[in-house]
């Protein structure tokens, strides 16, 4: 019963093809889904430049994670490696977000061979989950270098979900900025805005305004009637941002409004 894998069966000479590298062997997807950000008319086609920060601000339960997961899915479809760092949900739950939104997207756009495409893009995603109290930038750096040093995963886009923008967050953000610039990472954050301070222009907790210059793009989600409207608070070249995108409250998919 002792065995060393299947390879000895073939004289040990089999060429190992790693799962995270074999997408080339599969059929290409023929999917042409425009990035939702392109509709917002942002300065940068990717939303934010390399080493830049973007934020999605909204009260709890409005759809920050859903929006960022969609940005991530679009990046994954373009074969871009996405690292999703969650400080609130376990890996399995984040995985479900991706799966569900992908299925909704495939269903809405009637895209062919969704199952195969999903299998193809899955290696482009890595989920890391931290406990809030256990999270620090050095720790994150260590985890990422575990991946890059062994050539397991090289993230290009990072999503930081659940970081609490409280007083004292400044050094963490600065550390992250330094790391992102060094690695050429584009980083999106979710920013939890408390409902009670729903000032139309303020982003929420005090102190965040002071950090505004760190972010290239700030999107704000608001519930208007039955709809979730997306507004560009910062990052639109013309100054006043048009509210031209919204989210479907049932499927949480982005759509032109």
């Amino acid at each position: 019963m002792k065995s060393k894998g299947l390879l000895p069966l073939f004289g040990g000479a089999a060429k190992v093809v790693f799962l995270n590298q074999w997408r080339g062997t599969m059929t290409s997807p023929d999917w042409d889904v425009a990035s939702p950000l392109s509709r917002l008319g942002l300065e940068d086609a990717n939303g934010i430049p390399e080493g830049g920060f973007g934020a999605v601000a909204a009260p709890a339960g409005v759809g920050k994670t859903a929006l960022l997961v969609q940005l991530a899915l679009h990046a994954m479809l373009k074969d871009e490696a996405v690292l999703h760092v969650s400080l609130q949900d376990p890996v399995q739950k984040i995985g479900l977000w991706y799966r569900e939104l992908f299925q909704n997207l495939a269903g809405r756009e009637a895209l062919p061979r969704a199952g195969q495409v999903w299998e193809r893009i899955l290696p482009n995603r890595f989920i890391m989950s931290f406990q809030v109290e256990g999270f620090s930038v050095p720790r994150l750096e260590e985890r990422i270098s575990d991946l890059t040093a062994q050539n397991i995963f090289h993230p290009r886009l990072m999503i930081v979900d659940g970081l609490r923008f409280q007083p004292g967050i400044d050094p963490t953000l600065k550390d992250l900025k330094r790391y992102a610039e060094k690695q050429g990472l584009r980083v999106w954050f979710t920013v939890h805005v408390h409902r009670q301070d729903g000032d139309a222009h303020g982003l929420g907790p005090d102190g965040l305004n002071a950090l505004l210059e760190m972010f290239s793009v700030i999107l704000r989600l608001d519930t208007v009637g039955d709809e979730i409207k997306i507004r560009v608070e910062k990052g639109f070249p013309g100054g006043d941002a048009p509210a031209i995108l919204s989210m479907d409250p049932t499927s949480l998919l982005l759509r032109a409004s």
Binding site: F10, A13, G95, F130, R143, L147, Q150
Partner: protein, 695 residues
């Protein structure tokens, strides 16, 4: 009779391997006077825990087969099924959950909610089994019941509410505070057999009050009576609170959490009280059977003893006195001398002996009533069969049985072993639906199939020990599948018109990949190009090609066949001819549809101290694993990956040596995925060589 049933509890004890459930069961049996000495798992006394009745289980310190046992606690009858902890044996767990009314989820106060607990919890959800949680090992260093409760909420989504609070922790663990009665409980005597009530230590009173508030809050959501009692103010009647907790637990809206240390004999008696208070009696559960006479329409069973009997055989065991069949009676009474029918085979049989089991000892009884668990002797049946009164056409719902993913050839050493092996195989296949065996027609080898390396290893070991037969095993082989990746047309004519009765049939259409499902046959013929009476023959012909793919001879899945044209001959066309035409058409289309090999991919979850995270990820990556994520949980982290089964042989040894034995992993089948090209060629070569050898 109704009153009696309300004092019956059929419960399971499920948990992660090594969280101490066998030790806990042993204590339960001791306190309920079923055994008179406590033996430990892997006991030095050579006896081993009572529930681990198989020799192999005792040696390895794990529980493999679930032994059912019966005990009494404060005039309640409790039937306990001790369930195995390793994921390779989950069919045993699932089968137990099917017959249980409630469960105790045992968690380790140090390790918390681990991957296996998540699997077991999902199974409980599937069968809607209400449960209690027991946080064991509170005496261990690093114990933190609060962290475990938080994990129950965040990882499993339970509304976990503690009914107790630990008095001291780790080496200082002394007892628990009962938050319902607001008393401290200590366990005195050599084996903790005396439960002593005392006032709550002053230092803990404030915290206990806070926790009790949270408990009342949570329980009041399901109970108007409790809400009223709270609004009235004053002393809250204990009975009202208990009833509210019970109701919320039965609805799976609340998971009461208890704590203790089975090994140190603390907290076990209050757990028994909680089982009788909060877990359901058989009458609380709605059980359904399927009516085979009416297209398997679901029928609710009454659980009345006066109705005709319906029982499910959920486990078989080969004992020294012949086959022992564990049954759960759902309706009516099953008694000695009665004649019943096996719903699957339709055979009549007479019941000889009815017994109540206490692990491997037994007690003869006259009858088993609805809601109880017991065993019958000398009944010829398979696991999962339903026994009913003559005239009833009911069968209990069949359980979900996964397809095996790994196979192994076995060869008996000598003639004596040959006899033992066939006996053992027929026994194991009856006991375990995920274990299959057949003789390879080409090589003449006996092949066994199962759910993982350990699964098969244990059966081979059991053959040696229980049937005294020595077998040599071949290399484990992965159950590959074939599928197609693009659409391909076919147009095939089968023609034999040279003398004698002729054969003629032409089939045209196309094959295409089918994403969800194994096979679909679509008849798109218009205008009668193929006469309707031959269409079933076409489908049969196509189906017959699925068992062995034309390319690699692995089973074919994920194919849709559409036929849209054809031709027939007034005299020479027949079912036979169209079946042959379909086979030819399949071969023709299949090779053009870019067939590929698919391999089983396992979901592998590794729990490791954080310092080994990098090396564990490296190990998985080397094994062609795709790492899906890593979860930091303080000192521990959990890595989730999808890895081909073919690469996972011997992984436990490698993992142990890479992590100083501190990491553990579980593995279960996830999906089939296309084999990379390079490897596919090698597999093809290997298959060709095998064929050559067989020839």
């Amino acid at each position: 009779m109704k009153n009696d049933q309300q004092k019956v509890r059929n419960i399971g004890i499920s948990a992660h391997i090594d969280s101490g459930k066998t030790t806990l069961t042993e204590r339960i049996l001791y306190y309920t006077d079923r055994i008179h000495a406590i033996h430990e798992v892997k006991g030095k006394d050579g006896v081993g825990a009572t529930m681990d009745s198989m020799e192999l289980e005792r040696e390895r310190g794990i529980t493999i087969a679930s032994a059912a046992t019966y005990c009494q606690w404060r005039d309640h009858e409790i039937n306990i099924i001790d369930t195995p902890g390793h994921v390779d044996f989950t069919i045993e767990v699932e089968r137990s959950l099917r017959v249980l009314d409630g469960a105790v989820l045992v968690l380790c106060a140090v390790g918390g909610v681990q991957s296996q607990s998540i699997t077991v919890d999902q199974q409980m959800k599937r069968y809607r089994v209400p449960c209690l949680a027991f946080i064991n090992k509170c005496d261990r260093s690093g114990a933190s019941p609060e962290r475990v409760i938080e994990q129950l909420r965040s990882k499993l989504g339970h509304r976990a509410i503690p009914l107790q609070m630990a008095i001291g922790l780790e080496a200082d663990f002394q007892g628990v505070v009962d938050l319902v009665a607001m008393k401290a409980l200590y366990f005195e005597g050599e084996k903790g057999e005396r439960v002593v009530e005392a006032p709550i230590p002053a230092a803990l009173i404030e915290q206990a009050k806070g926790w009790r508030e949270a408990l009342i809050d949570a329980a009041s959501l399901d109970s108007d009576e409790l809400t009223e009692a709270i609004l009235e103010g004053g002393e809250l009647p204990e009975g009202v609170l208990i009833e509210a907790i019970r109701r919320a637990t039965l609805a799976r809206n609340l998971t009461p959490v208890l704590m203790g240390s089975a090994y140190k004999n603390r907290g076990v008696q209050p757990l028994l009280d909680a089982i009788t208070r909060y877990l359901p009696c058989p009458a609380d559960i709605r059980n359904e059977a399927l009516d085979t006479a009416h297209e398997e329409r679901p029928v609710v069973l009454t659980s009345r003893t006066t109705d005709p009997p319906v029982a499910l055989a959920f486990k078989l065991e080969d004992g020294p006195y012949g086959q022992l069949t564990y049954i759960r009676v759902y309706q009516g009474v099953i008694s000695k001398g009665q004649t019943l029918i096996n719903a699957r085979s339709g055979r009549k049989f007479k019941i000889g002996r009815v017994v109540r089991m206490h692990s491997d000892q037994m007690e003869d009884i006259e009858a088993l009533e609805a809601g109880t668990i017991g065993a019958l002797f000398g009944i010829e049946c398979a696991s999962g069969d339903t026994f009913v009164a003559p005239g009833l056409s009911l069968t209990m719902t069949s359980m979900f049985v996964p397809e095996p993913v790994i196979s192994l050839s076995i060869m008996p050493q000598d003639n004596r072993s040959q006899i033992g092996m066939s006996k053992a195989l027929s026994r194991f296949t009856k006991e375990d639906p995920t274990f299959k065996t057949f003789v390879d027609a080409e090589t003449g080898e006996t092949i066994i199939e199962g759910m993982g390396e350990l699964h098969l290893e244990v059966y081979v070991e059991r053959m040696r020990r229980e049937y005294d037969c020595d077998v040599t095993t071949g290399q484990p082989r992965v159950a590959y599948r074939e599928t197609i990746t693009q659409r391909a047309d076919f147009n095939y004519t089968h023609k034999k018109q040279t003398g004698g009765a002729g054969q003629f049939g032409r089939i045209a259409g196309y094959l295409e990949p089918l994403e969800d499902g194994d096979f679909e046959f679509v008849n798109a013929i218009v205008g009668g190009a193929i006469p309707t009476q031959f269409i079933p023959a076409c489908e049969k012909g196509f189906r017959s090609c699925l068992a062995k793919g034309p390319r690699m001879e692995f089973p074919v899945t994920g194919v849709r066949v559409v036929i849209d044209d054809g031709a027939s001959h007034a005299v020479d066309s027949s079912d036979m001819a169209f079946q042959a035409a379909a086979r030819g058409a399949f071969r023709e289309g299949y090779l053009r549809a870019r067939p590929v090999i698919k391999e089983p991919i396992m979901k592998v979850v590794v729990e490791t101290p954080t310092e080994f995270q990098g090396s564990v990820m490296g190990l998985l990556n080397q094994r062609r694993g795709m790492i899906l994520g890593a979860q930091d949980e303080g000192p521990q982290c959990v890595i989730e990956a999808q890895t081909p089964l073919a690469e996972m042989f011997g992984f436990s040894t490698v993992l142990r040596s890479a992590t100083q034995g501190k990491a553990q992993f579980t593995m279960e089948f996830a999906l089939y995925r296309q084999v990379p090209q390079g490897l596919a060629e090698k597999i093809a070569e290997e298959m060709a060589a095998k064929k050559k050898r067989a020839a």
